[in-house]
Symmetry: C2
């Protein structure tokens, strides 16, 4: 068995897990469909009550006039950027160097849409207004990801968002929100989804991060934007005859978890503090601004994997199933708070951190 | 209420319907998941038992080395053609003028992949070997749709398929099968899926036509082709974190219906004969070669809509929910045989055709 499998196994067999909503298994779907009438008609290529009602609900939540359900955020965001590029007749957009589009999509934006990217800011920090005003080439659209997932879920100040939004409107540059975790940052900003979304011309949200649905995304904006996005959705092969398995689940878990984002945020700060109290361990950001953060160790991955596996076995509390090496000799994992944390007895968590503190090499 | 709604309502409220498997409602999903363990793990971005096992099953069924599950055929086929075009460094493919790619995909192939299409044969007939040998420009790939859906589901002879396949191999042109309804044509050809698929370099099948799943498609070919298709699937935004709602349903209904294709074919011939026995009504093709056919009337759509609505109300047998005008003064609808036909009492069907014969204007 490889070391990483060893770590994964000790995580999965632990009685408790610190992060997430639990295993992604068929029970997620079955629970969501438990209350659904057999006779509920499927959506049909983007039409029908089940999809239209949900789109309206999300549009309202985001304070936008229209919203369109997509199978994935990858599809939704490429399409948003394509629409803005076509409108400006300029195939160039700007975003963070660790944007999902830049590192997780096999260059779909470039290969399918022939859109070039200008990378804003350094990898290790969020985009600030200075990065925007220093732009020395014209772009059709700027994409901001809130929070910036790959650096532990960091956020610019809300005032910075307003400044960026104002700058974009003044310069005629469209501003798109990668809001994969938008609901998760609202407690920190102390703003409504509509207030944040109002700063952007188009907004993407994900339905399986903090919400914990099965898959799926929504793209929101003006009615004209939404209509264009449907044409591109068909071109991408995303206009399925039936998307209701994702929509019904998203709707169910949205209702269940939207009001829990405050709790996840509070618990993220509490849990991060526990990690930071451990010498040789630190979180990024030090104080979380959403439900997520990264946990860093200044020792090699192989060594920490062994330690964490032991801690997980001995304490019965799962910290992580994997470790990633950022630079040689260090490693990290990601935590996203969900429904599981609150169900763990406090003394169990305290014990787990006690074991971690003992076993971690200094 | 519009006339078309009037027709639709009389169809949906009729006690029986001639075509299809029944309403596309949530019961389809719930039945498929009825026997699934809560603990069945989700697939995860294309990995995991649920997706890998199903892909292997379809690969084996099609006699191909590898298969990849896609959310849609639109996505799968564009990608297949893109791979073959890239391999040949020639962005040109040939297919029927009424191919799904040409008329139902908002030109995704052209807009996303910049692939040009050469249209083979006249709209009203299937592609023959002469259309291929007469090609006066080089193409990377030829796509054949079996059966040709938009002309009632017609088929070339099997010998023609062999000739086309041989020609393509000789000339170094890839041959792709749009097998959205591949299983549905096997009883006519008296061949296995693998025998037909063996004539092609890549094969797409749909999982919600005769099979009656919720959505989804599979693309099959060589291992190298499959690997490339996964990269493009990610670029298209089709590499979802979870595709299992479609996969589990597809697997369930495949097992349930694969052996019924012979029955659907036999019943299609029987039902088409009933239509053709009616003066002023004819089917295309006259004798079906799959589970589908089109029903033509040589009178205006509005007139026939009224007649059919009356027939459906009086007889309690639903023929169609819609009519399409092909040329002015005629109209048609499509029938695809499924599970419903066999459950209708024979005398009910006989009565419905008797009423139709009485009411149809000559």
């Amino acid at each position: 068995m490889e070391k990483s499998d060893f770590l994964k196994e000790s995580f999965e067999t632990a009685q408790f897990q610190l992060g997430g909503h639990g295993k992604r298994d068929a029970a997620i779907l079955k629970e969501a469909f438990g209350q659904v009438e057999d006779a509920m008609p499927s959506d049909h290529y983007g039409n029908g009550e089940v999809i239209e009602d949900f789109q309206l609900k999300i549009a309202k939540l985001l304070g936008k006039e229209a919203a369109v359900f997509f199978p994935s955020g990858t599809m939704a965001q490429q399409i948003a950027l394509r629409i803005w590029c076509d409108e400006k007749k300029l195939k160039k957009v700007a975003y963070h160097p660790l944007s999902h589009l830049e590192i997780h999509e096999e260059d779909g934006l470039k290969e399918l849409h022939h859109i070039d990217s200008v990378l804003l800011a350094d990898k290790g920090r969020v985009i600030e207004i200075e990065d925007i005003t220093a732009l020395n080439e014209e772009v059709a659209c700027i994409l901001l990801e809130l929070p910036q997932r790959e650096i532990g879920g960091q956020l610019p100040n809300y005032e910075t968002l307003v400044e960026i939004s104002n700058w974009c409107r003044e310069k005629g540059v469209k501003l798109h929100l990668d809001g994969a975790r938008l609901f998760e940052v609202l407690p920190y900003y102390e703003k409504s989804a509509a207030e944040v979304a109002g700063l952007f011309d188009s907004v993407y949200i994900s339905l399986y991060k903090g919400i914990g649905g099965i898959a799926g995304a929504v793209l929101a904006g003006s009615p004209g934007f939404a209509e264009q996005s449907k044409v591109w959705k068909r071109r991408h092969g995303g206009d399925l005859i039936s998307l209701y398995p994702y929509i019904v689940s998203a709707d169910y878990y949205l209702d269940k978890r939207l009001d829990k984002m405050e709790q996840y945020f509070r618990e993220a700060k509490e849990l991060a503090a526990s990690f930071n109290a451990c010498e040789e361990v630190s979180t990024l950001p030090l104080v979380p601004v959403s439900n997520m953060f990264h946990v860093y160790f200044q020792q090699p991955k192989e060594q920490i994997a062994r330690v964490l596996a032991e801690v997980q076995k001995q304490s019965g509390v799962g910290f992580t199933s994997y470790l990633k090496e950022e630079t040689e000799g260090n490693c990290y994992f990601e935590v996203s708070m969900g429904d599981l944390y609150t169900a763990i007895p406090k003394e169990k968590i305290a014990y787990a951190f006690q074991v971690l503190a003992q076993k971690i090499p200094s």
